[in-house]
């Protein structure tokens, strides 16, 4: 099943791809191209079991795209392909292609390490390291060999402010991150993910373990972050998808049933199955 890419009326308004992606991946400038990730005829297998079937879609730049669908429908699998995290699992294979800013993420010239620096990820269960708050945020800089104290300090403040956590932790940056509350930990993980300025931020059910207030803060944050980052979020929460996404894809049994503007998906879906799911008749 191939979903038609949504009409792109905002094409001309989108800023061209920011310079850093080109620095690392060395891709030619693609003026006026708003789709940062393009998926074409993508099939994915865990061993012999097919998890995704012929997925084709475009993720627009600096927008929030939500993947919805019942458990096991493949939305997380697709998300984890965008930064090749699925390759940590034995026996996976794929056909078709995923392009980031015009270049296949499996191109031999694309290093998986560089890809993951461009495509950051926030996980379902917050997973701060057993290190200080400060060291958690600068992890991606440390592994890249950055040592200048000023750069690290600046990154910590910028990232924590970006993740709306700075005011709460600025006095205890060197205390263990494991002493934070659940919502704070998840915002720390967001700060850690945006510390090295990725182009895309993947979020795998980032609020599923949080209370409504912490969830609200993360959703506000997502709205702020989309000024700078392209966000792809997997969610089980329909309200969340309507509240914070611009585009929405409905997955079912490994297929992308429908992909469109969120408003369209929730008000006038073209597919009966989408309508049944978003109105709560099955799922």
């Amino acid at each position: 099943m191939i979903a038609t890419p949504p009409p792109m009326t905002e094409k001309t308004q989108s800023a061209p791809a920011a310079p850093q992606a080109e620095d690392i991946l060395d891709v030619p400038q693609l003026p006026g191209r708003p789709d940062i990730i393009t998926v074409r005829d993508f099939n994915f297998f865990y061993g012999k079991k097919q998890a995704l079937e012929d997925i084709t879609l475009d993720i627009p730049e600096r927008q929030v795209t939500a993947f919805i669908g019942p458990s096991g429908c493949g939305k997380t699998t697709l998300l984890r392909n965008f930064n090749r995290m699925n390759e940590l699992i034995d026996g996976v294979s794929h056909t078709g292609d995923i392009k980031l800013a015009g270049r296949s993420i499996w191109d031999p010239s694309v290093e998986v390490i560089a890809l993951r620096r461009l495509v950051g990820m926030v996980f379902q269960k917050s997973n701060p390291f057993a290190k200080s708050i400060y060291e958690n945020v600068v992890y991606s800089l440390r592994i890249a060999g950055t040592r200048q104290r000023a750069v690290l300090d600046e990154t910590v403040e910028r990232s924590l402010r970006g993740a709306a956590l700075w005011d709460e932790v600025k006095d205890r940056l060197h205390e263990s991150a494991l002493g934070l509350s659940g919502g704070q930990m998840q915002r720390l993980c967001i700060a850690r993910a945006i510390a090295n300025r990725p182009k895309v931020l993947l979020m795998d059910e980032p609020c599923s373990a949080l209370d409504p207030i912490a969830t609200m803060r993360i959703e506000e944050l997502i709205n702020d972050l989309k000024k700078e980052f392209t966000i792809v979020i997997v969610t089980h929460n329909m309200q969340q998808a309507t509240r914070c996404s611009d585009f929405c894809g409905f997955f079912y049994l490994g297929n992308l049933v429908e992909f469109d503007r969120t408003k369209q998906i929730f008000t006038k879906p073209r597919e009966k199955r989408t309508e049944d799911y978003v109105t709560g008749r099955f799922g």
Partner: protein, 297 residues
């Protein structure tokens, strides 16, 4: 405030026909709990009685001079076992240096790099077999491999025997420690663009370190008390150690020698040596735990 509406006096009894069995079930529950607590205390009995005996018999002769003097000749009084303390520390320390790095690195390989590979399975199988090998066989091996080759009994040969003994324990406990590191930590690290080496060295190993350390300490404690492998390799010596390539005294062999002697003083000294051995092992253990729990926090 008095409430005119009252519940039936049978409130707790009338909700199910089996309600009378409730008492029986909770009695059974309590009896089993009591049994578990009782058996736990029973398991402490051997440990407590050994400690009691060692302290009671070992304390009378324990003073500073046992660390500074050489063992008394058969039938003589006085003296100490300073050379055996040094010998044990040297051989166990050397064995640790020989066994721990390869064992931990092998554990990293079989756990992180190729967990399902043929080599990993072979290493795991060999390590499990090795843990079951009697320690005297390790002694015979080191005798053949080192003593016969160098032509003399030595501390080095003793250390080799102990290292062979420690290797599988450290390897298998380290593997368990690494398996215990949450997958989420690894994913977070890879997700931030870390290489496998960076993920292992910055996230996985620090997280597993306390558990790895516990495994190493278990191996050290076991090796420090081993007699059989040392009888074949380091033998014993009445004198202070001056090189790694000569027969060397150890606490365990001294305990073995002295406890079988027909002289009261030597038997008492064997008890004191036992006490010192227990204290040494405990002290190393506690220190290691303290250092690592502090560094981890």
């Amino acid at each position: 405030m008095d409430n005119p509406i009252t519940h039936s006096p049978d409130f707790f009894e009338d909700n199910s026909p089996e309600s009378t069995k409730m008492l029986g079930r909770s009695l059974f529950d309590r009896a089993l709990t009591a049994l578990c607590v009782g058996l736990s205390f029973l398991a402490l009995v051997p440990l407590a009685s050994i400690l009691y005996l060692v302290v009671k018999n070992g304390l009378p002769l324990l003073d500073w001079s046992v660390f500074t003097q050489l063992p008394p000749a058969a039938g003589m009084n006085g003296g100490g076992f300073g050379n055996a303390v040094i010998g044990t520390l040297t051989m166990v320390g050397l064995a640790l240096l020989m066994a721990a790095p390869p064992a931990v690195l092998a554990a990293v390989y079989i756990c992180e790099y190729d967990p399902k590979g043929k080599l990993s399975n072979a290493v795991r199988f060999a390590a499990k077999l090795l843990t079951g090998v009697p320690s005297i066989i390790c002694g015979v091996f080191a005798f053949a491999a080192v003593v016969l080759a160098t032509g003399k009994f030595s501390a080095f040969a003793g250390a080799v025997a102990l290292a062979v003994l420690m290797l599988p324990t450290i390897l298998l406990t380290s593997e368990q420690a690494l398996l215990g590191v949450q997958r989420a930590y690894r994913e977070a690290s890879y997700g931030l663009g870390a290489t496998r080496f960076q993920t292992i060295s910055r996230v996985v190993l620090p997280d597993a370190a306390p558990a790895i350390m516990t495994g190493i300490m278990l191996a050290v404690a076991r090796a420090a008390g081993e007699t059989a492998p040392l009888v074949f390799t380091a033998l014993f010596s009445q004198f202070w150690m001056s090189s790694l390539m000569e027969p060397t005294a150890s606490l365990s062999v001294l305990i073995y020698n002295f406890s079988t002697m027909p002289f009261e003083h030597q038997v008492k000294m064997a008890w004191t040596a036992s006490l010192v051995l227990v204290l040494l092992v405990t002290a190393t253990n506690v220190t290691a735990q303290l250092v690592f729990s502090k560094r981890h926090a």
